[in-house]
């Protein structure tokens, strides 16, 4: 096999990494390069340096160290039975690429994962070497996210967590049964146990950090995970229930949902259809409702809603349409919890309504300035000069609020 150039390897190993949706570079310890030998800083909310035409943010150099892999996970482009081109970066190549991209302000840092070669510990050891070289030799203070290799030792995990801002592991599929079917080498229990240990280490490091500012932080940006949507038959209810479990057990920053999409040389075991992007979007919306709006999964998908989220309207609106008895809500009186349930009112708008209420009575025009979607919103609220008409109680409301079909435009 002819030697591949770094650029050729990059082509293969970024293509191999793109099915991991996470690109976050936010909420880690604040650092800058003042007084250091090198470069790098972190900001509170992270920066998206570019966007691809798939609408996804490009914040990190997201690559695999190698896409050679001994696992044969059906949904994965890098599974051992696939005929995709293979490549492997050296540790030095990844370090240099990261620094070169960073110096040109293309990226916030590195998100490094890998196919599993030789053994979990060998593979994990190589990932840790990249992070260690960036931090120790180059004094790199940008963001680093390392993927944990299933089965890697506790010592390597601990080292990874010291160099990286985030370490994470993907649960891949919502149920143990589908994982067994599609990723025979992966064990749901092992992944869970590893995430459990991560949570304990992160917590412990936070407690030490509170006692001494010099204690090294372990994975200060927390942990996240990803579930593939649409590869197995799991319902939205099953996915969201699993997410709620994961948030509660492991204190995750995020669960990423990745619509299963056709991959080159895909397995015959899996559906070859367009990725369910709207479903993925609705899952994110529902996920948001549980984390910031006080909804339980059982409310978003209650008995009347069935097992799947409504694709035509967003889950909050769908809930409001099923619970008209809870509306209209008086923006001048209602408590925060009730305001948060109004379709079209976000957390920020709610805070501003609450701050303004003691100063003046809110009219409909005020709400129009506070929130974006007055068209939807007005059917569910009472303001000092506004009451919704009979439409709130009519079956036509759903039709009325559904997005109108749009004529397609050429780009």
């Amino acid at each position: 096999m002819a030697q591949l150039t770094v650029q050729e390897k990059l082509e293969i190993l970024s293509d191999a990494a793109k099915y991991d949706a996470s690109c976050a570079s936010s909420n880690t310890t604040k650092r800058n390069s003042l007084g250091g030998k090198g470069i790098g800083s972190t900001t509170g909310s992270g920066i998206c340096h570019s966007y691809a035409p798939d609408g996804r943010c490009i914040s990190l150099l997201k690559i695999l160290l190698t896409n050679f892999c001994s696992f044969d996970c059906a949904f994965c482009i890098n599974r051992s039975s696939s005929n995709v081109r293979r490549a492997r970066f050296s540790v030095e190549e990844v370090v240099e690429l990261t620094l070169n991209f960073y110096k040109r302000n293309y990226i916030e840092g590195l998100f490094l994962s890998s196919g599993i070669i030789r053994s979990p510990d060998y593979t994990m050891g190589e990932l840790v070497r990249v992070a260690e070289s960036l931090r120790r030799i180059h004094d790199f203070r940008g963001y680093i996210h390392l993927k944990l290799i299933p089965g890697a030792s506790q010592e390597l995990t601990a080292r990874a967590g010291l160099f990286a801002d985030r370490v994470s592991m993907n649960v891949e599929l919502p149920s143990e049964a589908s994982l067994q079917r599609f990723a025979p080498e992966k064990r749901a229990r092992e992944i869970g146990a590893a995430m459990g240990k991560l949570k304990l280490s992160i917590e412990e490091s936070k407690e030490e950090g509170a006692r001494s500012r010099h204690a090294p932080a372990f994975s200060p940006a927390g942990q996240s995970t990803q579930m593939i949507v649409g590869a197995d038959g799991a319902s939205d209810a099953a996915i969201l229930t699993r997410s709620a479990q994961l948030y509660a057990a492991f204190d995750l920053r995020r669960v990423y949902y990745s619509a299963f999409s056709p991959i080159p040389d895909s397995s015959s075991q899996l559906p070859l259809v367009d990725p369910p992007l709207m479903r993925e979007h609705r899952l994110y919306q529902a996920d948001w409702l549980t984390r910031f709006y006080g909804f339980e999964v059982g409310e978003i998908l209650d008995r009347d809603a069935g097992e799947m989220l409504d694709l035509a309207v967003d889950p909050k609106l769908a809930w409001a349409l099923r619970h008209r008895e809870r509306f209209p809500v008086d923006v001048n009186r209602a408590p925060r919890e009730a305001l948060l349930r109004v379709p079209g009112l976000g957390t920020r708008s709610v805070e501003r309504i609450l701050a303004m209420r003691p100063l003046r009575r809110l009219r409909l025009a005020d709400i129009g300035r506070l929130a974006r979607s007055l068209g939807t919103l007005r059917h569910f609220i009472v303001a000092s000069d506004w009451r919704p008409g009979a439409l709130l109680d009519s079956d036509r409301l759903r039709q009325h609020l559904m997005p109108k079909p749009q004529q397609l435009a050429l780009f």
Binding site: S14, D54, G55, R56, R104, G196, P264, M356, R369
Partner: protein
Amino acid sequence: MVVARLAHPADFEGWREQARALAQRWVLPEDIAWHVAGEGPDLFAAMPRRDREDLRAVSVPRAFPDLAESVICHSDPGRFALLYRLLWRLQAERDLLKVVTDPDIYRAEAMARSVRRDIHKMTAFVRFREVADEEGAVTYVAWFEPEHHIVERAASFFVERFTGMRWSILTPRRSLHWDGETLHVAAGASRLEAPGDDAVEACWRTYYASIFNPARLKVKAMKAEMPVKYWRNLPEAGLISSLIADADKRTQEMVRQAPTLPPERHERMARRAPAVSAELPEEIGSLAEARIAAADCQRCGLYRCATQTVFGEGPQDAPVVFVGEQPGDQEDLAGKPFVGPAGKLFDRALAEAGLDRSRAYVTNAVKHFKFEQRGKRRIHQRPNAGEVRACRFWVAQELAFIRPRLVVALGATALQALTGKAGSLTVARELELKLEDGTALVATVHPSFLLRVPDEETKERELKRFIADLQRVGQMVPEMRRDEAA
């Protein structure tokens, strides 16, 4: 009419000083003309007519200077007057800033937002190109076109991030130069002064093209976050139209392609891989095998929500086995029994009683964590009789392989699991008990009970009693004592 002069378009200090002085003298907003040096014809004005003799103290809420500092960077020529009007109104309307729907506040906030966004986009979309001079010294130079007067406000980001580099950011308004130690702010520059290429850009474009998934085209989402106006200075943007144009074809090709045969390497690995037996061993022949088998236990439904089976821990020849109720949140995450708050209390009590935990085998009556989920919290729930019964299988395995001289039931659930019947712990605690096979049994409370006692006095008393029970264990099995050589 008063003319207030500002040194440059984002001269916040200049604006602040003059605005304060003018407001102190009661100069009305409509009587001031703001003039930025070098912008438009200079204004000559008569002295203000409507000044008052008395001065007033001018004060503002803490949030106002921040807002003003952002608004002043906006390119809207009306920004100075708007801010002065706000300053004026704030003297009478102290809570004005909270009235976000007030037209002046609404406009100021929109301007501040636009400025913050422009700063953010500058930190995102500046693209440096490497330039080496004749001696080989490397400088990184970027050309950027901001919408507002934000260059100096964004400077600290670049200084703090690229401290170890020499760099310049050229813009039509102002330019920044960092030599590794000092920041120089210079006049605006022209695009022609910026370098035209950089060898690493080819790699960056490769990355951009490969990280894009053609099966999920969302052009609107991309444009919302990366507006087209920035594209001409982004080296990757030249690829966008062809990536979009080819997306559908590439996706169809992936869908249509027939499945292929696995490569040789896969077959080789499959042959080499050891046959993994996922099934339970037919017979459990040792404690180690029991532990492995228990990891897959589905004898009751608790495995569905728990993270993992928490099997007992300790030496296989331990003279004493402690049996608790079930793992809690921390134990569920760690995969080890008695490591959470109750476990820590248990350790303390053992130490006070002079016992050595490392000589004992510690386990639970139920091996999976049972909880009720409330939002983000997992609230401990007592296992029911069916779950306890299902798990007796494992407790029996542990006891059979360890054959301890004494078993200690911590709490009613453990007692029930060990004796097979529900009984009063208060009564059992006073008795000399035996298991069916004759092994001595001591019953006491579960350490988590001590954590739940509300008043300190009772807690202290109950803790002493618990320690006394443990001391009894030490009397019955002296080698459990720390002072006893093992």
